[in-house]
């Protein structure tokens, strides 16, 4: 793998690290499988790209993209909590609506950002572009991860975790469940929207199709991270989401380089799935070996 491809893979992995943290918040912390992310990733990108093209400051545009995506999360939470629509279905409804909204926001299916100023513009010329991009998104992902880890350790975060693990117990202890779900979904989708806005700016376009499969990628990253870095520390868990996301991108990269084994371009999804599956199976096998060895030693 060339240095350029390596840095590019790392960069995209780090951006999707924010998606993974968002998915972790809903899927693991709140026990709320949220498919909104397929739409809110694009929404973050669409809002940011449209504002940048309209001449707004890229940082302001990124913030607006993030907030817009947060609102999408709130809509899903509202549908679920106010009208008792099943969480999965509520998020599918929001995601479906977002497809149209994203087209409306952009006014067309694809907004190009090549040549436009981006969040990276102030740092231009300090380092070659390919290093600068990686450093920038690494800082975003790590700062995002630290903030989320810190948040989950506050009283408020603890209450949110309690909601996810046992709603009734949480309610019995005086925790306002609905509020935690609203905040959790807004936070999660905000992170996803931020990732979308960053992706659009580092890759030069926002496209109506760019969110497809975001939930799968996020889940894969969460699960890979969890299986490789098992821990009970919030900091390690949140960071493992980022690590999982980067590893997932390297799996895709390996799949792209698999020509020598006689694979074709169309085999990419299968190879990626197998590599992710291996990452999942390996820790389990390792535990089984350990257990067997422990039994043998006892005998």
């Amino acid at each position: 793998m060339s240095l350029y491809a390596f840095l590019g893979t790392l960069e995209i992995g780090l951006i999707y690290g924010l998606v993974a943290i968002g998915v972790y918040l809903t899927f693991r912390i709140l026990d709320f499988p949220d498919l909104t992310v397929d739409g809110s990733f694009t929404l973050g990108a669409a809002v940011a790209a449209t504002l940048i093209v309209a001449g707004q400051n890229p940082y302001l545009a990124t913030l607006c993209g993030t907030l817009a995506a947060s609102c999408a999360g709130l809509v899903t939470a509202w549908l679920n909590l106010r009208f008792n629509i099943l969480h999965l279905l509520a998020s599918i409804l929001t995601m479906t609506a977002l497809y149209t909204i994203n087209l409306r926001v952009m006014g067309k299916p694809n907004v190009a950002l090549i040549m436009e100023p981006t969040v990276l513009s102030p740092f231009e010329g300090i380092l070659p572009d390919m290093y600068m991009k990686v450093i920038f998104v690494a800082v975003c992902a790590i700062v995002g991860g630290l903030l989320v880890a810190w948040f989950l350790r506050t009283q408020y975060g603890l209450a949110m975790r309690a909601v996810g693990s046992n709603k009734r117990m949480a309610q019995a202890n005086g925790i306002v469940v609905t509020e935690k779900v609203y905040v959790g979904l807004a936070l999660s989708n905000g992170l996803v929207g931020l990732a979308g806005a960053l992706f659009a700016q580092t890759n030069g376009f926002a496209d109506s199709t760019m969110g497809i499969g975001t939930i799968v990628v996020g889940l894969a990253a969460v699960i890979i991270g969890e299986s490789l870095l098992a821990s009970r520390s919030m900091l390690v868990i949140v960071m493992s989401c980022i690590v999982g996301s980067v590893l997932y991108r390297f799996a895709v990269s390996m799949a792209l380089n698999a020509d020598f084994l006689g694979f074709q371009a169309s085999d990419l999804n299968l190879i990626t799935a197998v590599l992710v599956a291996l990452a999942l199976v390996f820790p389990k096998l390792r535990n089984e070996w350990k257990a067997k060895r422990a039994i043998k030693e006892q005998i």
Partner: protein
Amino acid sequence: MNLNSVLKVIALSTVVLCTSLYAKPVYVATTAIVEHPALDAVRDGIKAVLNENGYTGDQLKFTYESAQGQPAIAAQIARKMVGDAPDVIVAIATPSAQAAVSASRDIPVVFSAVTDPVGAKLVPRLIQPGGNVTGLSDMVNVKQHLALIKEFVPNLKTVGVPYNPGEANSVAIVNALKEAAVEMGITIVESPAPKSSDVMIASKQLIGKVDAIYCPTDNTIISAFEAVVKVGIDAQVPVFAADTGSVERGAVAAVGYDYGDLGRQTGEIVIRILKGEKPGDIDVKMADGTSLFVNTTMAAKMGVKVPADVLARATQIIK
């Protein structure tokens, strides 16, 4: 080490270096946003032209990657290709081209099957675009297409267009169609199909409202084209296409290029760059389309007669 062996080493390494330079193959890296027959035909057309021009066997390294419809993977592919430092990067369809242009600083990028390259910010202008990017636009000649449909359906008043509103290419074509239709006194009826599973319903919704159905070069529609054909046969409404490749799959007729042609024209741009021309000096080419395909069986099944002079003009008649 004595002088003699030093000289030997130098001589030997010079020979090795020279032969390796001489044998260095031309490296063309291609990528597409998704795999389907039309885009695959572009890729094959490019390769065919390269082969015909002497870039064959050991002289050509030709790679191809598909992003499986995912822009994030298109971005990853673009980084991988730039890192591999090929002589030319060929990017097929808009998101792949944008990812490649955004990743590449000095490697020439040739785009293909992009309808609106200026709108997609791939090049600042079509003539002498400057920079390291040029390519081929597949914007179709919609007036010519409407005129062809009118030959089959003389009382043409309304034309139905199923398309994916999420595809930049299709939106551009539909806008051009609406403009051209006004001049010709025709009404365009749009029917959106965001996914290939929606294509059947989108075409059914046109029945009763339109005299003919016209399918643009839309990845979603083309991948489920048989669904449109079936609706056309059941409802006796003729189905026309923007690309000649679809005539073999059941369209009554189409005038234009097939995607293989598009690939061949793209390949010619690639060769100009391989021979030393700067991409910035090569004008963006609008795809030529001169072939006329007619499917007589389908015309009969969909209840239209093939006009005699259309049949006489046809470059290919499919039965």
